[in-house]
């Protein structure tokens, strides 16, 4: 029998069929994540299908608000009120506005386990693959079907395996690695594929670094990012579920068939920057050094975790941010915020002159706050530098790691964090 990738194994298990890449199957969904932007349409759709009936399994639906938090308009408030009432009526767990960004909450609250099939009404749902789950973003109509039925049609994706080796230099992190990969394959280079990240560099990464890798898989068109779960995942989950034990065998077979294998030695990798207006327009930092930054944003589902804040705080400790640069720091969740607070990181940011905001998506959807004006430049640890993503369509966004962002905050222009 032909070997399988981890993605083929999970989708076979969830459909009860022996599936390989390009097969179709009707799969049972383990968890569904609903947030404030795409949730209202999904619930409207579910009501159309079920005639005000119940969701398929209220214990498998997780709701929270993170894009427009706290409500920044009357419409946002009305939407959140509707979602809140729906969650109550249905008995769904709703974290409401209190916890932070969906993709961090799903993981840190233990809603994602290795081998599960998880869907979310957000393209960065692929983040959860860092725990060895098959996780993918869906639209509101598909979410309506999931809420009603608990099942969804899937095409089993082909897999691109990225094998990464070499020890990263100081202040070069997983964001730099994944930006480099996106630059190599292009914004559509992995369309419809599972992006499997493997190799010694990935094995040595902590959960925060791995979550960043998988989070960015969608930026090369991937259906999911996924990493074979190991002891790092098991230890992470033991913090939440002390009895948790990782099952053997949840990895790709030696003879699994891949669409492509890409190998990258990152020992000499420079910090990377995605230059406007495309995430695959990636350059080493040395080619963009000196670009003035009107705003620096450290946060988002990509890079708002404690570990990200820590590397930024190391650079900003005892310093003051550049006079003409606004610096916004947003921890990804309440939990990460408290960790950073207890370690003194938040104090470092505030003393340096940064604005520290409550956990939410912040400027990254271009609709809430922290927006940029026409002609302004944002240097950001988030995931998209599309036109208008952080405000004015005439603004420019450079995507970087937390280390590069902090170094930029210090000098008011893009700087190599290794030199700071």
């Amino acid at each position: 029998m032909m070997g399988k990738t981890i993605s083929e194994k999970i989708l076979s298990e969830k459909t009860g069929k022996d599936l390989y890449a390009r097969d179709f199957g009707f799969a049972r969904v383990d968890k569904a994540m609903v947030h404030d932007i795409t949730g209202p349409l999904a619930i409207q759709g579910m009501r159309e299908i079920t005639g005000n009936g119940k969701v398929w399994d209220s214990s498998r639906v997780i709701m929270l608000f993170d894009h427009q938090v706290p409500a920044d308009s009357i419409i946002a408030a009305e939407n959140q009120k509707m979602l809140r009432e729906f969650a109550k009526e249905q008995g769904i767990l709703n974290y409401d506005v209190y916890e932070g960004i969906c993709h961090q909450i799903m993981v840190e609250k233990g809603h994602v386990l290795p081998g599960e099939l998880v869907v979310g009404g957000d393209s960065h749902t692929c983040t959860y693959g860092a725990l060895g789950a098959f996780a993918t973003g869906i639209g509101s109509t598909d979410m309506a079907a999931v809420l009603a039925l608990g099942r969804l049609w899937f095409k089993v994706p082909e897999t691109i395996r990225f094998e990464i080796y070499g020890k990263l230099q100081k202040r070069v992190v997983s964001k730099d690695v994944v930006l480099k990969l996106i630059g190599i394959v292009g914004a559509d280079g992995a369309t419809y594929c599972a992006c499997e990240f493997a190799g010694e560099t990935i094995e040595k990464m902590d959960m925060a670094q791995r979550l960043t890798m998988c989070n960015m898989a969608i930026e090369m068109g991937g259906k999911t990012g996924i990493i074979e779960p190991d002891r790092v995942v098991e230890e992470y989950l033991k913090e939440i579920y002390p009895e948790y034990r990782l099952e053997d065998g949840l990895k790709s077979d030696e003879d699994a068939v891949y669409k492509q294998k890409i190998t990258l030695d990152v020992a000499d990798l420079e910090p990377q920057v995605a230059v406007p207006h495309r995430v695959d327009n990636v350059k080493p930092v040395s080619e963009v050094t000196g670009i003035k930054a009107d705003q620096v944003f450290i946060g988002s589902c990509t890079n708002g975790r404690y570990e990200d804040l820590k590397i930024a705080a190391e650079i900003l400790k005892g310093e003051t941010v550049a006079k003409d640069t606004r610096v916004i720091v947003i921890p990804a969740s309440r939990g990460e915020y408290v960790k950073a607070l207890k370690e003194g990181l938040i104090e470092i940011f505030i003393e340096a002159g940064a604005l520290v905001e409550f956990p939410c998506c912040g400027p990254c959807m271009g609709g809430a706050f922290g927006l940029i004006a026409g002609g302004e430049v944002s240097v950001s640890t988030s995931n998209r530098n599309f036109i208008g993503r952080q405000g004015s369509p005439e603004g420019k966004i450079y995507l970087v790691s937390p280390a590069t962002a902090a170094a930029t905050a210090l000098y008011g222009e893009i700087v190599d964090p290794r030199a700071v």
Binding site: I37, T38, L41, G45, E48, I49, Q68, D72, S73, I75, A76, G121, D122, S123, T125, G137, I138, G139, S140, T141, D142, A144, A145, A148, L149, A187, D188, T191, Y192, G221, K223, R278, M365, G366, G367, A368, L371, R384, F386, I387, G388, R389, G391, P393
Partner: protein, 163 residues
Amino acid sequence: MEVIKGRIWKFGDNIDTDLIAPGKYLGLPYEQLLEHILEPANPDFPKKVQKGDIVIGGKNFGCGSSREQAPRGLKDLGVGAIIAESFARIFFRNCIGIGLPALTSSDISKHFETGHEAEVDLRNGTITNLTTGKTLETSKLPDMMLEILETGGVLEMLKQGKL
């Protein structure tokens, strides 16, 4: 539904969902969001698009966010079909899910310009440029997807017990 006729609106590569449904308007009432669909890519589009018009795109059309407001906005402004060199996955799936035809055609950008008149034949998988007379093949959707489009989307299929 099987033959769609209208004017062409042509766009380039990597038309992302922030260009189609900009984040800063997502928090507005839906009717107001419609006034800004594809506006950053072509300010005339939301003002002048008409029922049956056909959107042409390059590579990776619809990349980015899963926000269904992007394909819905296009459909509700009257767009009859999108033909692109390639689509981002979630956007493509959302299009079919809401009943908006989305087809691929590798040379599409070379043979069509904004303002041309065109006709799309879904079942035969062709698009004809009525201004120049040129006909190109498009992808052919499987019967299942054609049925979803003809029924008016996945929700309608589910309501009618067809899924």
